[in-house]
Symmetry: C2
Subunit: 260 residues, 2 copies
């Protein structure tokens, strides 16, 4: 892969691992927009959030190179992959960081746990226009054939109007036939929470262990301006995500609490 | 430990592990406010962000119980510890989730990577008033003796005026003698980024590996309303943190980008 000065350089990663269908789908689409460097893990890294690897060494291996892309395997989290790529593997700072297509939605508070969105947020922290894409179907055999149209629309929108500093996009695509999808809805993160239900089991030695499971509880199912509503009503949700977690509106009130 | 109906129930965790001095300091202080259930890991879990354990079973062990507290060891992340405690270990939903005292500051964008803050955010997602405390000294021998005064002030402020839904607190304490600390500053998350510098090394087999290091770069060192400024000027920083990552102000502009 030779990077010409007029080529867009796109860094691609995900949290489902190198052999995920969603990643391969996104690789093919991204090659329409520029030269792609893909860095991901062999194993899936779902639910890793913005985790960093600080206690074990990171390793990386070039697996494949052709005229359009290079593919590396990395043993770290999605966030590690983005950092390592930008610092060690890329010819220059990339023009885009894209992540996904995740097998499973990352709407509402799932943005906080998602490795897919963490990679986009990491790109954003480097001042790069970044997007995380997810399909609302977590199965390994999910059908991604309708995703390309909406992914192209999002990438073209960013080309026309680059995202401001500190903002990346969280895009969730319904798992529906193309003719049932009504279009793109720019919206906000729904209020919700996971009702965790751990499965409590006994191992062959009689010792207790737990598996994390959980059911999502939408706290505002009737609000029509949320990502959960969009997905439930066959829209592609696009949420602008900020790296600033400050609750600005509460600062003055909180100040008064301390001076009481 | 017998939980009376008028006892406050406090869930305590951290990301530096059960033997961290900061955790023991916070345990002693929290016992002034209620009955404490502590759930943490044997090993440190720094930089784990909001990561969940989904691929390996979680295990938990009761290590110690007296009239004031119970202490459990858990093999998961700080977020796992909070979820498991609330779902499986506690008598009832706790009144407070507190996390720390972290060895090392979690100001600016470190809130995104911090396991300490992830635990507080997780408590917040359960609708519980939650706080993460950090000391601006990452050494194992850090001096926490001056922290109690400010931790009590924060806990008392929440008692007077409970936090609204979806907001928790990120509290960072300077590593300075008590007489040099000027007080509490309610402020916002500073804009900044890590200038990552991976150390590239060769293992005894001649294979390359990387260690993540990094230097923090404050993008607005002159802004006097940020957590980084507070710490640098000997104030305890208190930032209200929201679980809503939506960049609300950009929604209308983004809509127009898609209809161009």
């Amino acid at each position: 892969m030779v990077l010409e000065s007029n080529d867009k350089l796109i860094l691609l990663t995900n949290d489902d691992g190198l052999y995920a269908e969603g990643l391969r789908t996104l690789l093919n689409i991204m090659e329409e927009f520029g030269k792609v460097v893909l860095v991901s893990t062999i194993e899936s890294m779902s639910g890793m959030s913005q985790a960093l690897t600080v206690k074990t060494p990171l390793r990386v291996k070039l697996l494949e190179e052709n005229e359009k892309h290079r593919i590396y395997a990395c043993n770290g989290t999605p966030t590690d992959s983005v950092k390592l790529a930008i610092n060690q593997l890329l010819e220059r700072k990339p023009d885009r960081v894209v992540s996904g297509i995740n097998h499973g939605a990352n709407a509402s508070v799932s943005v906080l746990y998602s490795g897919t969105m963490a990679a986009a947020i990491e790109g954003c922290l480097y001042g790069i226009n970044s997007v995380g894409f997810s399909l609302n179907d977590f199965s390994r055999t999910a059908d991604f054939s309708h995703c390309g149209k909406y992914i192209r629309m999002v990438m073209q929108a960013i080309d026309r109007e680059p995202l401001p500093e500190g903002i990346c996009l969280n895009v969730n695509i319904p798992a529906k036939p193309e003719n049932e999808i009504k279009g793109i809805l720019v919206c906000r993160q729904a209020k919700g929470s996971w009702v965790e239900e751990f499965q409590k089991r006994k191992d062959p030695m009689g010792k207790t262990y737990y598996w994390l499971t959980g059911i999502f509880n939408n706290h505002e199912p009737d609000a029509t301006d949320t990502d959960e509503w969009a997905l439930a009503n066959n829209y592609v949700s696009v949420v602008p995500v900020t790296v600033d977690m400050t609750a600005h509106w509460y600062i003055d009130k909180l100040k008064s609490t301390f001076t009481e």
